[in-house]
Amino acid sequence: MSGALALPWTGARRGERVAFVLLLALVGLLALVPIARLAQEAIAPHGVFDPAVFAGVLESPTVWRAARNTIVVAIGGTALSLALGTSFALLVTLTDIRAKKALVFSFMMPLMIAPQVTALAWINLLGPNSTLLRAVGLAPAPGSPHPLYGAAGIALLLGIEQAPVVFLAVRAGLRALPRDLVEAAQASGARPWRIVGTIVLPLAMPSVAAGAMLAFVGCIGNFGIPAFLGIPAGFTVLVTLIYQRLAGFGTGVLSEVAALSLLLALIALGGLLLNGWLGRRKDVRVAALATAAPAWSLGRARPIAEGVCWFALFFVLALPFAALAATALVPAIGVALGPKTATLANFHFVLFDYAATRRAFLNSASLAAGAAVVLVMLSVPLGYSLAGRPPGVRQVVGFVAELPYALPGVVLAIAMILCLLRPLPIVGFSLYSTIWIILVAYLSRFLLLALRPVTNALRQIDPSLDEAARMSGARFARRVATVIMPMIAPSAVAGGMLVFMMAFNELTVSALLWSAGSETVGVVLFSLEQAGDAVSAAAVAVIAVLVTLALMLIANAFASRTARGVLPWQP
C-alpha cells in the first residue's frame, strides 16, 4: 500500500472530476500559458517561426557580456553557498552542537529576508556612508567606490542568500542516510572524519549536487542583489539587462526582452532538469530505512565550533542589519548616531507622511494577503484531488507549478506582460498597468509555496481516514471541508504565511509590473535607494525585516502541528 490518499479516477463522482479539470486548467493558465507565450514571442514573434530576433539578441556583445557576468557571479555564489550550506548541514545533523533550533532559525534568515533588503544592509554596513563604521572610524574615505559594488560583492551576497537552499537539500539527504551504513563504518574502526569523507558525503552527494543546482538557479534569477550592487557600478547581468531595457524603452522592445528572458530561462531550466535528474537518483537511497543520524560528540571542539557558527552569523546577519537600523535611526546620512541624534522620524515619514511608501506598504500587504488567501483556498482542493491521481499526473502538475517559482522572476514578469498587455477577452480591458497584473503574477509565482505544504501534509495522512469519510457518505466538497481541511489546516496556513512573507518582500516581479499607484515595498525601496534617500530606504527595509521576523515567529507558534518539513527553518 502506498502512503498516498486513494482517490481513484474510477471511484470519483462526476462533480469532482469536473472540479479537478477546472483546477488543472487554472494551474495551466497561471503557470504554463505565460511561459509558452514567452517562448512563442521570442522565437515566433508574429505567429510564424522567425529566429531573427533571438539570433539578433545572441549576436549582441552586451548580451554576451551580461550572460558571462551572470554565469560568473552565479558560479561564485553557488560555490560559496555550497561551502557554507554543506558544512552547516553536517554540523547540525551529525554533531551534538547546542542550540540547533536557534542556529537553524538564524541560518535560514538570509533566505527569508528579501535580497534587496540584504543588499541594502550590506551597503549600509561597508560603504563610505556607513553610520556604523563611521562611529568607530573605519569607514572608507568619502567618494571612494563601495567595496561591495561589482562581481565579488554580488557573488558574496548571493552565496550568503543561497546557502540555506543548499543546507535544506543536504540536510534532507543526510536525514535519509541509513544509519546502519554509518554504524558499519564505525564498527570497522573508522573515525568520524573518515566516515564523513568516505561514507556520509559520497552517499549524500546527489543531495549536495541538487542543492548546488537549486542555488545556481536562484543566483541566476536574483534581481535585488545585482540591481543594488551591480547597476551603480555598471556591472550588468542578464536580469538587470532585461530590467534596464524594458524600463528604458518600454513595451516596444518586448520581443527583444522576451528573447533575453528565454535565454535566461533556458540556462535556469538546464539547472532545474539536472536537479530533477539528481533528485530521482537520490530517491533510490531514500527508500532505505529512515534514520536518526548519529550525534557525534564534538568534545572539546564543541565551544569552538559553536563560537565559529555564532561569530559567522553575527557577521553576516547581525552586523549588516545593525548597520541598516543605524542608518534608519539617523536624521540624515552623515549624521553620527548617538543618544541625541537618534530619531524615529524616518519611520514616521515612510509609514505616514510620504504617500508613495505609505501606499506601497498597503499595496504589498494587500497583494500578499490576497495571494496567500487565494492560493491556500486553491491548493487544498487541488492537492487533495491530486493525491489520488497516478504518479505521472502528480509529477507533471508538480513540475508545472514549480516552473514560475523556479524560473527567474523577470522571466515570469515578461511572460505576464505578454499575456496581459492586450485587453482580456470577454471583459474587454487590460490588466496591464493595474495592480491586478501583479496579483496574477504572484498567484503564479507562489503557487508552489502554498501547494507543497498541502501535498506534504496529505502524504502524511492515513488514506483510510478519507476512505472512512467516503463510506460515511461524504462527497468531495464535504470531505475537503470536514475531514481533510481540519487535519492539514496548520500546514496549509503555514504555506499561506510563506506566500505572504515572500510576496510582501517581493521585488523582481513587481519591478517590471508596477505602475504609478501600484508600487510595492520592494519597488519603493529600490526607488528610494536610487534616488539617494538612504535613510528612508533603510527605514522601509527595517520595517520589512521586522514584518518577516514577526511572521516567522508567529508561524513557529503552531509549527508543532504542521507536517514535517513545511517550515524550512524548523529543525
Binding site: 471511484g11 483510510s464 481516514l465 472512512a468 469519510a469 463510506m471 460515511s472 457518505g473
Partner: protein, 353 residues
C-alpha cells in the same frame, strides 16, 4: 435473499491479476470471512465491494441493486455500507461522539437524533462516558469499539472489516473477536471479514472464502473447510496436517474410498463420484494414531514440539520420507527425535480433482 452478490469480478494491477473471475454470494445477515495469504487479492475484493476499486469485468450487487458492472459504478459515498479499517480510521480532530455521528450528520439527520443515535451506539459498545474523548486518548481496543459504533450508528446493512485485529496485542484479540460477534448480534448486518489469520476466520465466521492467487478456492462453513478441502491449496493453508500422494483403488457409494498410502491400504472419506487413480490425501493430526508394530506403517520422528499437556510429533513415513505428518500425542507418551513409531490412518480425506 442475497445481501451481496459478486459475479465474475476481475481486476488487474499492471501485469498482476489481483482478482481473477471471483464470484461470491452472501446471504442477508451472514458472516463471511475472506481468508488468504498477503497478496492473494482479499483486500482488493473488499475495496471492490466498498467501491474504491472499479472491477474491469463482472458485477457487484447489494440485494437487487447493482452497484458495479461494465457500465455503472456507484461511488463509495453512495453505497451506504460500513467499514472498519485496519487502522480504524478515526478522525483525530473530532471527538469520539463526532466520529460516530459523522455519517449521520452527512445524511442531514437532525442534531437531536444524531445525539440519540450516538449515545445508543456508545452504550452498545460499552463506551458511555467516552463521548468527548479524542481518539488519541483511547486504547487500541477502545478505538476499535468506536469504529464499530460508527458502523452501528449509520445502520449499515453491510459492514466490511479489513483485518481489524491486526493492530492489536495478542491478548486483546480474543476479546475483540467476541465484541465483533456481539456487534453482529446487535446490528443484524451482513459482515465481510478479511483476514490472513485462519484462527480468526474459522472461529467466528458462518462461512469462509479461501483466496489465493486472485481466485476464490473454496467457500464453505469452517468445519467443512477443515474436513473436506476441495484442493491442495486450501488443504495446506487451512488447518494443520499434511497432504500425501496415494492411489484410490476402490470407491464405495457411501462416500468412502480405499487408498493405497505408505505401503498399505486404508479406508478414508471421499467426495461422491470419486474415481480410482492417483490422488492427494489430506491427513489431519487427529486422523493418525500410534499403533503397535505390524499394524501400521513405520515413520521416523523428525521433531517433537512440547505444548503443555500434549505434544506435536512430526514424523516422516519410511515409505515416503518427503512427507511430514504431524499428530498430537499426550506429552507423557512422546518419543524422542530419530526414533521410529508405527502409525495408522484412522481417517482422511481424498482431495477431489
Amino acid at each position: 435473499m442475497a445481501a451481496l452478490t459478486i459475479e465474475g469480478v476481475a481486476k488487474r494491477f499492471g501485469a498482476v491479476a489481483a482478482l481473477d473471475d471471483v464470484s461470491l454470494t452472501v446471504a442477508d445477515g451472514e458472516f463471511v470471512a475472506v481468508l488468504g495469504p498477503s497478496g492473494c487479492g482479499k483486500s482488493t475484493l473488499l475495496r471492490v465491494i466498498a467501491g474504491f476499486e472499479r472491477p474491469e469485468r463482472g458485477s457487484v450487487s447489494f440485494g437487487e441493486r447493482i452497484v458495479s458492472n461494465g457500465a455503472l459504478h456507484v461511488a463509495p459515498e453512495d453505497r451506504q455500507i460500513g467499514m472498519v479499517f485496519q487502522s480504524y480510521a478515526l478522525w483525530p480532530h473530532m471527538t469520539v461522539a463526532e466520529n460516530i455521528g459523522y455519517p449521520l450528520r452527512v445524511r442531514k439527520l437532525a442534531a437531536r437524533d444524531v445525539g440519540r443515535e450516538v449515545d445508543a451506539a456508545l452504550a452498545a459498545v460499552g463506551l458511555t462516558g467516552y463521548a468527548e474523548r479524542r481518539p488519541a486518548q483511547l486504547s487500541g481496543g477502545q478505538r476499535q469499539r468506536v469504529a464499530l459504533a460508527r458502523c452501528l450508528a449509520m445502520k449499515a446493512r453491510i459492514v466490511l472489516l479489513d483485518e481489524p485485529l491486526a493492530n492489536l496485542d495478542v491478548h486483546l484479540r480474543a476479546r475483540m473477536l467476541a465484541e465483533i460477534a456481539a456487534f453482529r448480534e446487535l446490528s443484524k448486518a451482513t459482515l465481510i471479514y478479511v483476514t490472513h489469520d485462519q484462527a480468526e476466520a474459522l472461529g467466528v465466521a458462518d462461512r469462509v472464502a479461501v483466496m489465493s492467487g486472485g481466485r476464490i478456492r473454496q467457500v464453505a462453513p469452517p468445519a467443512a473447510l477443515y474436513r473436506t478441502p476441495q484442493d491442495g491449496v486450501v488443504s495446506r493453508f487451512v488447518g494443520p496436517g499434511a497432504v500425501a500422494r496415494g492411489q484410490v483403488t476402490q470407491t464405495f457409494a457411501n462416500g468412502h474410498s480405499t487408498v493405497a498410502l505408505f505401503g498399505r491400504e486404508w479406508e478414508v472419506r471421499s467426495a461422491p463420484g470419486q474415481t480410482a487413480g492417483d490422488v492427494e490425501v489430506c491427513i489431519r493430526p487427529e486422523d493418525l494414531a500410534i499403533v503397535g508394530e505390524g499394524r501400521g506403517f513405520a515413520a521416523r520422528v523428525a521433531r517433537v514440539l512440547y505444548q503443555g499437556g500434549r505434544s506435536v510429533v512430526e514424523a516422516s513415513p519410511a515409505a515416503d520420507p518427503e512427507t511430514t505428518l504431524s499428530l498430537s500425542v499426550d506429552s507423557g507418551t512422546a518419543t524422542g527425535i530419530g526414533r521410529t513409531v508405527h502409525l495408522a490412518l484412522v481417517d482422511g480425506w481424498v482431495i477431489p480433482e
